[in-house]
């Protein structure tokens, strides 16, 4: 238990690993736009492309934390813009409950974050990644949920 109370200075060279689940129809394209527009953002994210934010099963998020990712970002289309009409509306309900529960069990709010980023928002995508990375850096390496093998 004492381990994750260590001051973050010990991890001066530590860079967080963050997984980003991006919807194919918006945020993934947003990331692409950020790239072609040469917008700088922290290189800490690993992207997994999903067909819709509705595809995200809460288990995915839990497994990421279990497997040692320091943070998780889930990003989909704005309400009303879902390629499949309503996938993100269902997802939003799921995420609300997931987020509440994770915070309740003691996972810091910064670890798991959600955003809406459209295909045209390269700038917003970069900002979101920056914010998530900064938040996770402040929190330090994830220890709580990591599987001890």
């Amino acid at each position: 238990m004492s381990e994750h109370r260590k001051p973050n200075t010990e991890h001066r060279n530590w860079q967080p690993k963050i997984i980003a689940f991006l919807c194919n129809w918006c945020s993934y394209a947003g990331a692409d736009l950020a790239g072609v527009s040469r917008i700088q953002y922290p290189p800490n994210i690993r992207v997994i492309r999903v067909p819709c934010s509705g595809r995200i099963n809460p288990i995915f998020v839990l497994k990421c934390l279990q497997n040692g990712f320091d943070g998780v970002l889930v990003s989909g289309c704005y309400p009303g813009d879902c390629h499949y009409i309503s996938g993100n509306y269902y997802a939003r309900r799921k995420f609300a409950i997931l987020k509440t529960l994770l915070e309740f069990i003691g996972i810091e709010p910064g670890r798991v974050q959600f955003s809406w980023v459209s295909a045209g928002e390269g700038e917003k995508f970069a900002q979101v990644v920056k914010k998530v990375t900064d938040d996770v850096k402040k929190l330090g390496p994830a220890k709580r949920f990591v599987k001890r093998v």
Binding site: N67, G68, K147, V149
Partner: protein, 362 residues
């Protein structure tokens, strides 16, 4: 054999002296569940309930998760050893203080299965290194049950609240003292250790102990004769009675995980990334449908009926067939822990009655 006694107040001294040579496990209660825990600090004192613990001590010799080996970047290494304050460098010798007679009997039963050399007619022929390593030189202090629970039925299975089978020393609670009787060579030798806080027992103490025992035995319910249960089960494989028995079973593993003689396990690989991981042996239970599910998707034991039948058959038929005794010690934990209050004694009675009906019809 000579009998000794020890003041209850001085138990701690005894346990302390044990920790010099052994990893010592004692019954401890936490959050309303009693189980055996290793003594890791001087503050530990055993919780003595005068009946068996909620979790059986089998997990000392046969832990729920056993690491068989770990691997890292192609190199395989043995599991890390447990590290405790009291562990002397060259010993993994285990002492259990305060096991109840039924649990100690379960060790003897599992000895036959896991291939310990003991004088028994039947054994499995398989040798389990993990069991044998821990079990060899283990010293077992049994505390008899002054107050058996209403769920106890050890007397159905040739056991009793003060039987000695498998014990090295048997302790009987006689008020301010425990009467200590060595009942094996190891026990005899241990009692000779210098500086133990024990003294010779007087005749009064021995008499007191025998009264206590008689009293305890009298509180157990009248045993049901199960000598022909094995033969009975031979004929009942297809009997519809299994439906009746299994209706209410929820197929959870509370009964088998808390059973002192259930030993089924699964081998699993746990990975951390691609380069690092371990192979583990974990408890498994015949009550799970996954237990027998085949790669094709077919499951030979699809419903609780087949699974319940398996559990009963294993304990009261196959175990007898293969290892020469019933695979049950009558501890009653399955009765206490069942979420739907299935009572194995009722199951046995139901089976007996069915058998009787069948033979009467013939």
């Amino acid at each position: 054999m000579a009998a000794f006694k020890i003041k209850k107040k001085r138990l701690k001294e005894l346990i302390d002296s044990l920790t010099k040579e052994y990893r010592v496990f004692i019954p401890v209660e936490s959050d309303g569940v009693s189980s055996f825990k290793e003594v890791t600090s001087d503050s530990h004192l055993p919780t003595i309930n005068s009946h068996n613990t909620d979790r059986p001590p089998k997990e000392i010799f046969f832990p729920q998760t056993e690491t068989l080996f770990t691997y890292k970047e192609g190199k395989i290494s043995p599991p890390e050893q447990p590290n405790t304050k009291y562990r002397t460098p060259n010993t993994d010798k285990i002492a259990i203080f305060g096991a109840s007679p039924c649990d100690v009997k379960s060790f003897s039963l599992l000895d036959r299965l896991f291939g310990m050399e003991r004088n028994v007619a039947k054994c499995s022929g398989y040798k389990d290194a993990y069991w044998i390593n821990r079990r060899t030189n283990a010293l077992i202090f049994t505390i008899g049950c002054n107050y058996p629970l209403s769920t106890c039925f050890c007397n159905w299975l040739n056991g009793g609240p003060f039987t000695k089978e498998g014990s090295d020393l048997l302790l009987t609670d006689i008020g301010e003292d425990f009467l200590v009787e060595p009942c094996s060579q190891n026990g005899e030798e241990f009692i000779k250790t210098k500086g133990l806080p024990i003294q010779k027992a007087a005749k009064v103490d021995i008499k007191r102990a025998s009264t206590v025992r008689k009293e305890a035995e009298s509180t157990l319910s009248e045993p049901v004769d199960i000598t022909s249960l094995k033969e009975g089960l031979d004929t009942l494989w297809d009997n519809p009675v299994w439906n009746e028995i299994a209706y209410k079973c929820l197929s959870c593993a509370a009964c088998s995980y808390l059973c002192p003689t259930c030993y089924c396990f699964d081998i699993q690989d746990e990975r951390a990334g691609n380069a690092r991981g371990k192979r583990i042996r974990v408890w498994d239970s015949c009550m799970f449908s996954l237990f027998t599910k085949e790669a094709s998707g077919h499951n030979p034991r699809p419903s609780s009926k087949e699974r319940m039948r398996q559990r009963i058959m294993h304990k009261f038929n196959y175990f007898v067939e293969n290892l020469g005794d019933f695979g049950c010690v009558g501890c009653g934990r399955c009765i206490r822990s069942c979420p739907v209050n299935m009572d194995i004694r009722e199951v046995i009675n139901t089976i007996k009655n069915v058998k009787l009906t069948i033979s009467n019809e013939k």
